[in-house]
């Protein structure tokens, strides 16, 4: 922890800000929140100070955390970089490849740090996978499967608009697209299929993405935004020449109760120890880097690459054919 408190500007007061603000405060940061909507309510819940304008926010802080809808990332990150701030951007780094590339170049030319919040890299089960692969204990990777399922995010309408959010592939599956690239290396070929059903009030969407990695390894990433009752679950299964590793979040729940009367826990009782919360670990790693610490495990290059893979999958949906990612390189 630095001597003088970090001054961080959080932009956005939606769903993900609830996973950022308390951890920024735990880190000892002084947090100012600007949002078009909901900033006073958010700071009333966790702490921090709401401000009325973006200009005011940028005057007050050293670092900026952009936690807004996908289609606004590019302009806000650009604005913060140009104001001389190091920036955390919620994933995806930007909606379009060109925007992500421009942000990457802008950060470099301004000498600013820009980290995309691919938080799954901080979940311990995915860290275990990365470590197993990097240690060589799985040998040469052959075939990888990833799956992520949960309820369709209907709390705000922009998720359902593929032009704004990039749909399930750009919003949800980008986590596992990033993990696949993290553990199995650069991606050379991408194909995708998707399916939508349900109603405007109760939509469901699913997609399958196939990746070919430069190494020859192949990956399947499955995503589901299902009906409202569906619990959030993740799975992976990775096999190499020397071993395999798999994980199912549903199978690894280690507190199972069947109580006649459920006791009110009074507020949000975390599922994991707060000190090990992946969002906390992520924000700690990023802010330590801002303060002169080591480069974090996710860089702006990774964020831009994940956007390219996701957009290649979206192109494949449109053309009905795989997309070669090595072209134009």
């Amino acid at each position: 922890m630095t001597n003088s408190p970090l001054k961080i500007g959080l932009i956005g007061a939606g769903g993900i800000s609830n996973s950022h603000l308390p951890h920024l405060l735990t880190l000892g940061a002084e947090v100012f929140v600007y949002s078009e909507d909901g900033a006073p309510e958010l700071v009333a819940r966790y702490g921090g100070t709401a401000v009325d304008t973006l200009e005011e926010l940028l005057e007050l802080v050293d670092y900026v955390d952009v936690a807004t809808p996908t289609f606004t990332h590019y302009a806000l990150v650009k604005r913060a970089l140009e104001a001389g701030k190091d920036v955390i951007s919620e994933k995806p780094l930007a909606r379009h490849d060109s925007e992500a590339a421009e942000l990457e170049e802008l950060a470099a030319s301004l000498g600013r740090k820009l980290y995309p919040a691919h938080v799954v890299r901080f979940f311990p089960e995915y860290v275990r996978l990365y470590e197993a692969v990097k240690s060589g204990s799985l040998g040469e990777l052959a075939v990888l499967r990833f799956s992520r399922s949960g309820a369709f995010p209907t709390r705000t309408p922009w998720f359902a608009d593929r032009a704004l959010s990039g749909g399930i592939i750009m919003d949800q599956m980008i986590h596992d697209l990033d993990i696949a690239r993290w553990v199995a290396g650069e991606v050379t070929r991408v194909s995708a299929v998707s399916s939508q059903a349900g109603t405007a009030e109760a939509p469901v969407e699913a997609a399958h993405v196939l990746l070919t990695h430069e190494s020859g390894a192949i990956s399947h990433v499955a995503g589901l935004w299902g009906p409202a009752h569906l619990p959030f679950t993740t799975e992976y299964s990775v096999t190499g020449t020397l071993g395999s590793l798999e994980h199912s979040s549903a199978a690894e729940r280690n507190y199972v109760s069947n109580l006649a009367v459920a006791v009110e826990q009074g507020g949000l009782l975390p599922d994991v120890d707060p000190a090990e919360n992946p969002y906390f670990v992520e924000l700690r790693e990023y802010t330590q880097s801002f303060a002169g610490g080591a480069e974090p495990r996710v860089t702006v290059k990774d964020g831009a690459a994940a956007v390219r893979i996701a957009n290649a999958a979206l192109t494949s949906l449109e053309t009905g054919q795989p997309v070669d990612l090595t072209e134009g390189k």
Binding site: E140, L141, A142, V143, R145, S147, S149, R189, S191, V193, S194, S195, Q196, A197, G198, A202, V204, E205, A206, A207, H208, L210, L211, T212, G216, A217, I218, S219, H220, A222, L224, G226, P227, H229, L230, S237, T239, G240, T241, G243, S244, G320, Q321, P322, D324
Partner: protein, 342 residues
């Protein structure tokens, strides 16, 4: 056709497929079925085949298929190498016997079509051996699907992972097997989706590699396939031979079906008692659950007795074969391949 007043006569053509042993054991244990087997030819060194296997199973044996078919079996079970299915189906059909053919139906579309034509011309029934659809868990899924509990189905994930076949050399010889993991394992889940939805597959994309067992691989040992169906459902199948030879069990088949009503997950071969070996620390996994081959065979024998075509029939075999062939083409060309049914 009325129930026969004599024991059924069932012939088994070839012991090439390891399932031949299981079928013979089931047939002979019934006590009410006459069984005759034949496995002619020169067999690979070290493989228990031919008369020696018949003797170890205690089943009658003849040296040639001519003798086998001259016995006038009511039905023939064909457990030869995949590439030989056509020739043997044509022989059996010409002899007027109903046919249970091991999966996959064939290794080429021409062969598959010729087999259906031969069965039709001879007026015999052709069934393809897809045992997993006979699992009670699948019946449960089908009931949920038919009752609308899943709502509108939109996505399926399936995996059929096993060890690289080693008991019979031909499984990894593309000239006889028709390929690698794609031809071996895609068809089981494709059959389940056929039985569940009966929708036409429209397009297929596949990626493969030979990273596992690279030293002996003559075809892909890992494969991932996506299929788009006419009803809007998308499916993904992992068909890889990704279980190590040292694993406690052969592998398994898993299926997740998703609809607007929710999800169903099935681990078809999942239930097992688990422990650890004290000396090595290696897992002990003792699987249990019904033998799906028994239900499959029972359905075939009932159909032969009743003279009513059972499912999965030759058309299912052909449709699932088209998916495999499209997947092989996709893996080769890097393109998504459309399926047209003619």
């Amino acid at each position: 056709m009325s129930t026969l007043d004599r024991p059924l006569k069932i012939a088994v053509m070839s012991f090439a497929h390891t399932h031949a042993r299981g079928y013979v054991e089931l047939l002979t244990s019934s006590g009410s079925i006459s069984v005759l087997t034949s496995d002619p030819g020169v067999h690979p060194e070290g493989e228990l085949r031919g008369r020696a296997l018949a003797e170890s199973l205690g089943v009658d044996y003849v040296d040639t298929f001519e003798e086998l078919l001259a016995w006038h079996p009511d039905a023939v079970i064909i457990t030869s190498e995949n590439a030989n299915h056509r020739a043997h189906v044509e022989l059996a059909a010409a002899a007027g016997a109903h046919i249970l053919c091991e999966k996959p139906l064939a290794t080429t579309l021409d062969d598959g079509k010729a087999m259906l034509a031969a069965a039709e011309a001879a007026g015999v029934m052709l069934m393809v051996a897809f045992p997993v659809r006979f699992a009670s868990t699948f019946a449960h899924l089908k009931a949920d699907y038919d009752a609308g509990a899943l709502g509108q189905v939109l996505s399926v994930r399936g995996s059929n992972n096993g060890k690289v076949p080693s008991e019979r050399a031909w499984f990894t010889d593309p000239a006889l097997s028709g390929g690698g993991a794609l031809v071996d394992h895609v068809v089981h889940i494709a059959d389940l989706l056929e039985a569940l939805m009966g929708s036409a597959p429209l397009s297929v994309t596949a990626v493969t590699n030979r990273t596992l067992h690279a030293e002996r691989a003559k075809a892909e040992t890992a494969g991932l396939v996506t299929i788009s169906y006419a009803n809007g459902v998308i499916a993904a199948i992992d068909c890889s031979w990704s279980r190590p030879a040292t694993a406690a069990t052969w592998g398994g088949v898993k299926l997740t079906v998703t609809g607007t009503g929710g999800t169903v997950d099935i681990d078809f071969f999942g239930p097992r008692a688990r422990g650890l070996d004290t000396l090595t620390g290696r897992p002990i996994e003792s699987t249990y659950g019904p033998n799906f081959d028994e239900a499959l065979l029972g359905t075939f024998l009932d159909a032969v007795r009743a003279g009513v075509q059972p499912q999965p029939d030759g058309n299912v075999g052909l449709r699932t074969l088209r998916i495999v062939l499209a997947a092989q083409e996709s893996a080769l060309t890097g393109q998504t391949v459309s399926i047209t049914e003619d």
